[in-house]
């Protein structure tokens, strides 16, 4: 039961990641200068090499900037939750190892 739940969870995670990458548009053709509409060009906040010598990367617009900072916060929160769960699991498996639970099971 636990195993099937784990597999279902892994599948769900894989699908979510695949969905995220498909929707992020990564891997799609960027297109040449002619293909880009002038409207799209306006969205590019960072200057091209003709405007500025050094290209400093940054979020393209406020929406992307906010999304990135929210992502960083969410990522650290997830990391701390996962670490907390892992620590609980470590405590439990160490206890089982100490009482030789798995060796007894194998014998």
């Amino acid at each position: 039961m636990m195993r099937s739940r784990r597999i279902a969870l892994s599948l769900l995670l894989t699908c979510s990641l695949a969905f995220f990458f498909m929707n992020s548009g990564f891997g799609q053709q960027v297109g040449s200068d002619e293909q880009r509409s002038t409207e799209e060009k306006k969205e590019i906040v960072t200057q091209t090499e003709t405007e500025k010598e050094k290209l400093i990367p940054s979020p393209k617009n406020i929406k992307e900037g906010t999304a990135i900072y929210v992502f960083v916060g969410w990522m650290w929160l997830s990391i701390f939750v996962l670490i907390y769960i892992l620590r609980l699991k470590i405590k439990e498996i160490d206890r089982l190892y100490k009482i030789k639970f798995f060796s007894a099971k194998r014998e």
């Binding site: 099937s4 990564f26 091209t48 050094k54 290209l55 990367p57 990522m75 670490i83 498996i93 160490d94």
Partner: protein, 358 residues
């Protein structure tokens, strides 16, 4: 047919063909010693983690990168400004390379200090030293790919160093550059090294390195072994892997945060006719070598200073490579002196790096 039966069927299918149950049995039975130096065991898997990130982000970047004189710099600019999340992907690739090389250095020096390379682990050490060289080669070839003024000049300096080697020096420089000077041919060649030749070598060596580690098991530091006490150990799966997962999570968090807040910039495209810019510096992991070459006198007795420096580097590398055979009595006086040398080398490299940055 319920889900459990389907899963068991799939598992059986894979097991019949790939013998996965044998691998899982091996991992369940593998043990990791627990002592005061256990922390160094985590560095090996951290390197693998960053290597994996390098491969994935590298695949993403190669979709957009164009290794030609006209397009190299423009394509990086396009990655940074137009490709979805391109600047973050590039930044993660850039920072994970630095993280990976830093941990490779820590990993090698921890092995040197704990003397984990002693018999029968000499081949593991030697494959590890080659992996360090390949990691540095990845860094060196990757540095030119943005094709900006600084990377062009640094590559000119870097590829000029082998010229000082007697007999084969000029040939090596020409081989690296694809001609007399750094040109578009060098860029194409470096791209080939970076995405094709070096990955082949790193995968082969990594395979050998991991095989040796699994075959010999985790090494005990020499001082722990000499105490002749029983050493506690933990099963690799799942007890140690769960602990490693905590380290990986923290490292990924730090990497992504740094990549977002400190992304690498891009200078304007390099001009082959322009004079070299001021303050040419290689990546941080080459700074100590760069500084040593800088302070070396132009001529010592009748020998050219650069030639002597390169020959000294070569001798140091050979000694480093054959260290397990030189340090064949790790518990005795000779072994202790070699440990002191390790600390001296670390301090020297750090001082040279800081000096170069000043």
């Amino acid at each position: 047919m319920n889900l459990k039966a389907v899963i068991t069927g799939i598992q059986a299918w894979f097991d019949d063909r790939f013998g996965l149950s044998q691998i899982f049995k091996f991992l369940r039975e593998k043990e990791v010693p627990q002592h005061k130096h256990t922390i160094w065991y985590y560095t090996g898997s951290a390197i693998l983690l960053f290597f994996g990130i390098q491969v994935i982000t590298g695949f993403m970047l190669v979709f957009y990168y164009k290794p030609t004189l006209e397009e190299a710099n423009k394509s990086i600019a396009r990655i940074m400004t137009e490709a979805p999340l391109g600047w973050i992907i590039r930044s993660v690739h850039f920072w994970s390379a630095s993280f990976m090389i830093a941990i490779v250095f820590i990993h090698l020096f921890s092995i040197w200090i704990t003397k984990s390379y002693r018999k029968p682990r000499e081949a593991t050490w030697m494959s590890g030293v080659f992996l360090l060289v390949i990691s540095l080669a990845f860094g060196f070839t990757g540095y030119l790919l943005p094709w900006d003024a600084l990377s062009l000049s640094a590559t000119k300096v870097g590829t000029d160093i082998p010229r000082s080697i007697p007999v084969v020096g000029i040939w090596i420089t020409k081989l690296l550059r694809g001609g007399e000077d750094v040109t578009g041919d060098t860029l194409t060649r470096f791209f080939g090294f970076h995405v094709c030749i070096l990955p082949v070598f790193i995968f082969i060596l990594l395979g050998f390195h991991i095989y040796f580690i699994q075959k010999q098991g985790m090494s005990l530091p020499v001082d722990v072994e000499n105490r002749n006490e029983d050493v506690n150990s933990l099963p690799f799966w799942p007890n140690f892997v769960y602990r490693e997962m905590i380290v990986w999570l923290l490292l990924v968090g730090i990497l992504v945060t740094i990549a977002i807040f400190l992304p690498p910039s891009l200078d304007k495209a390099a001009d082959l006719m322009a004079p070299a810019p001021e303050g040419i510096k290689p990546e941080w992991y080459f700074l100590f070598l760069f500084q040593i070459l800088k302070i070396f006198p132009a001529k010592i007795l009748f020998i050219n200073g650069d030639t002597l420096a390169v020959l000294l580097f070569a001798v140091a590398f050979i000694l480093f490579f054959f260290l397990p055979f030189i340090d064949n009595k790790p518990a005795e006086r000779k072994g202790k002196i070699i440990t002191v040398i390790a600390y001296v080398v670390i301090v020297f490299a750090v001082v040279m790096t800081v000096w170069s940055l000043l």
